[in-house]
Amino acid sequence: MEGECRASQARSWGLPAGGAGGDSPGGDAPLPGSISSSSLLQAEVLDLDEDEDDLEVFSKDASLMDMNSFSPLMPTSPLSMINQVKFEDEPDLKDLFITVDEPESHVTTIETFITYRIITKTSRGEFDSSEFEVRRRYQDFLWLKEKLEEAHPTLIIPPLPEKFIVKGMVERFNDDFIETRRKALHKFLNRIADHPTLTFNEDFKIFLTAQALEFSSHKKQGPGLLSRMGQSVRAVALSMRGVKSRPEEFMEMNNFIEIFSQKINLIDKISQRIYKEEREYLDEMKEYGPIHILWSASEEDLADTLKSVASCIDKCCKATEKRMSGFSEALLPVVHEYVLYSEMLMAVMKRRDQIQAELDSKVEALTSKKADTDLLTEEIGKLEDKVECANNALKADWERWKQNMQNDIKSAFTNMAEENILYYEQCLATWESFLTSQTDLHLEEASEDKL
């Protein structure tokens, strides 16, 4: 994939099409994208689009970042490409380990917030050391996510846990909320680390390693708020256009995403509801057992049997608690993450559509001969590359994402089934031993009567 991108890039720089692409693993088969971009090159160039300055994010340099995120200024080299491909082929060769823990509350005159400790252990050469420890707050994670989205608009960036939870939140900082968030943040960073492209992102590295002052000064760089606002207005306009000319495979993808999003949201709701019902069941069961003990106080012959029943119910309660905690650790966070992922996917589709729409609007401008033909043609060439890169990046990442999703869902639900089996097995053993003890007593009593 990267090979093809590089080849078309070379084309836009004026190099022969087949030349530089020879030693790339992508093969020489022409992509559908490349056919259309070459036909576009024939068209006349028109006036420059005056808003182009806003699109610095989508410049040729940015498209470099799609493949190799070391730094915006470094030119692509075949070596770095090969390194990357190697990484994809051997996903188990993990050389970056990240943990998120130790939430701490910080109180200032203006606000209260929580920071999390992030420990990174790595053997990578580009890191100055092999171990790093930093503290980051939720805002910083948001910043990182936005930077990643800027740099890789059509890659599937892992989702962040929500900013707030609307329902049932009494205070922002209760323990369960913090723990759930911590786990999700841990997942977030690890998913980035596992991603073949994102793992080499410079902002990611800085996020993991920079101490407080260095980090806050780094954050202040980059496109300002105004330009970002201007971008989003334009982006909305563009994305509306992009939908119409969406290629077939992306239509399919979009269709999948829509339905997947619906279903995963439903599953999230159902799972939360199951947890709630189980909690209420547990509460009632906790009251149920002790009544038998109360009863045993006024009985003689029945006292032992009643106490046994109470103890069985108590054991089943413990088994229920275990099942619930397994459920809330294995299934609920996974399902919820994919709910957030589905939102992320829709945003990615939009961004892809935007990029496409940019190209289409330039092409339109060309055909209506409104502006300088030569300049437009050059721009269109760049945009075609950009579209091709974006599409290819998304396609590859999409396959990877689907594979991961399948594995995650499969293991989450298999886990849930296992927890349930374990629960029922435990309860079964409890009641069976009660039964044996009672029938043994029966036999004892019967033989006593006979004497």
Binding site: I274, L302, C312, F413, E425, C427, W431
Partner: protein, 408 residues
């Protein structure tokens, strides 16, 4: 289960089987000539031939709940020393949301049918109650039975509630065992009600847990449509979720029978209290009679000796209006002596009655205690059996589901 041991019994030297085999909705006119709907139950009696064990249908008639009530009220009056078996509840109580509180609901009617059969079997297997003529007629005489019962005049013989309440408060020396029994029956009633209430809530919650899983089935099925590799696994796992969700209906229906067994003993507590009340009434009566006798004796003594130790109206009026003549005095003494003789006899017989009541009642209470211990133990064991069955079903469903998930 405990019912199995009571299908056969001795009855007027004949072995019989009783069953309440059907329930039917009827419409008729009530006492105020207004139309009403009620349920009638078919009672079939079979006599069992010794030789071949075959049973022959001897009697079959329809009765409604109010007639059962009449029978029981009669038994309560004529056998106050017996712990009379209770009827199943008149209205559905301790319901959880899915169960209907409607008396016409078919599930309720079915459970009541079983309860009424149980009642008849209990009466028929009681060594004393089974010989009662009215009970025999209840099983055999369809028409006119109501009139026959009412002709016994049992309603008149019934102790007034007010009298009983009065006695309970004022009795000085009831048998200690009855005090303990009353205390026990209060505790039994309170603890079983509590148990039944919480059990109903547990059932409700369990129902919720199972049923929500059913939603997985629907969504998995819809999701499987867009998945290529995962599709089959999702679809079949979804099917198992549906199976899981629907399994709760049978499970909870079985539990209702367990609840009914507990309910019977909840109502038995009231029957125990009735026996205690009768004892208190008799004891109070005895105490009052003894007190009356003692005061008469004292009056007699005072008249005879001329000393007035206690205040009496006669003494007062005598003081105010003058002494009575010796003849008058003699007459009074004679009357009192007669009354005292009568009173002593009455006291003797009351004492005898009281002791006999205590003896008979206590014998039945011992019998009842054994029955209760046996039945409740069986019920608790059957509860465990139900839980085991539920767990086994759960293991099976989730094992199947796990297999589907792992194939995704």
């Amino acid at each position: 289960m405990f019912l199995a041991s009571m299908t056969e019994n001795n009855f007027s030297l004949k072995k019989i089987e009783i069953s309440v085999s059907e329930a039917e909705k009827r419409t008729g006119r009530n006492a105020m000539n207004m139309q009403e709907t009620y349920t009638a139950y078919l009672i079939e009696t079979r006599s069992v031939e010794h030789n071949d064990g075959q049973s022959v249908l001897t009697d079959s008639l329809w009765r409604r709940y109010s007639e059962f009530e009449l029978l029981r009220n009669y038994l309560l009056v004529y056998y106050p020393h017996i712990v009379v078996p209770p009827l199943p509840e008149k209205r559905a109580e301790f319901v959880w949301h899915k169960l209907s509180a409607d008396n016409m609901d078919p599930d309720f009617v079915e459970r009541r049918r079983i309860g009424l059969e149980n009642f008849l079997l209990r009466v028929a297997s009681h060594p004393i109650l089974c010989r009662d003529k009215i009970f025999y007629l209840f099983l055999t005489q369809e028409g006119n039975w109501k009139e026959t019962v009412n002709e016994t005049g049992f309603q008149l013989k019934a102790d007034s509630r007010l009298k009983a309440l009065n006695a309970t408060f004022r009795v000085k020396n009831p048998d200690k065992r009855f005090i303990e029994l009353k205390h026990y029956s209060d505790e039994l009633q309170s603890v079983i009600s509590h148990l039944l209430r919480v059990r109903a809530r547990v059932a409700d919650r369990l129902y919720g847990v199972y049923k929500v899983h059913g939603n997985y089935g629907r969504v998995f099925s819809e999701w499987s449509a867009i998945e290529k590799e995962m599709g089959d696994g999702l679809q079949s796992a979804g099917h198992h979720m549906d199976v899981y969700a629907s399994s709760i209906d049978d499970i909870l229906e079985d539990e209702e029978h367990y609840a009914d067994q507990l309910k019977e003993y909840l109502f038995y507590a009231e029957a125990l209290r009735a026996v205690c009340r009768k004892h208190e009434l008799m004891q109070y009566d005895l105490e009052m009679a003894a007190q009356d006798l003692a005061s008469k004796k004292q009056q007699c003594e005072e008249l005879a000796t001329g000393t007035v130790r206690t205040f009496s109206l006669k003494g007062m009026t005598t003081k105010l209006f003058g002494q009575e003549t010796p003849e008058q005095r003699e007459a009074r003494i004679k009357m009192l002596e007669e009354q005292i003789k009568e009173g002593e006899q009455q006291l003797k017989s009351k004492n005898l009655e009281g002791r006999e009541f205590v003896r008979n009642a206590w014998a039945d209470i011992e019998r009842f205690k054994e029955q209760k211990n046996h039945d409740l133990k069986e019920a608790l064991i059957s509860y465990a059996v139900m839980q085991i069955s539920m767990c086994k079903k759960g293991i099976q469903v989730w094992t199947n589901a796990k297999e589907c998930f792992s194939k995704m």
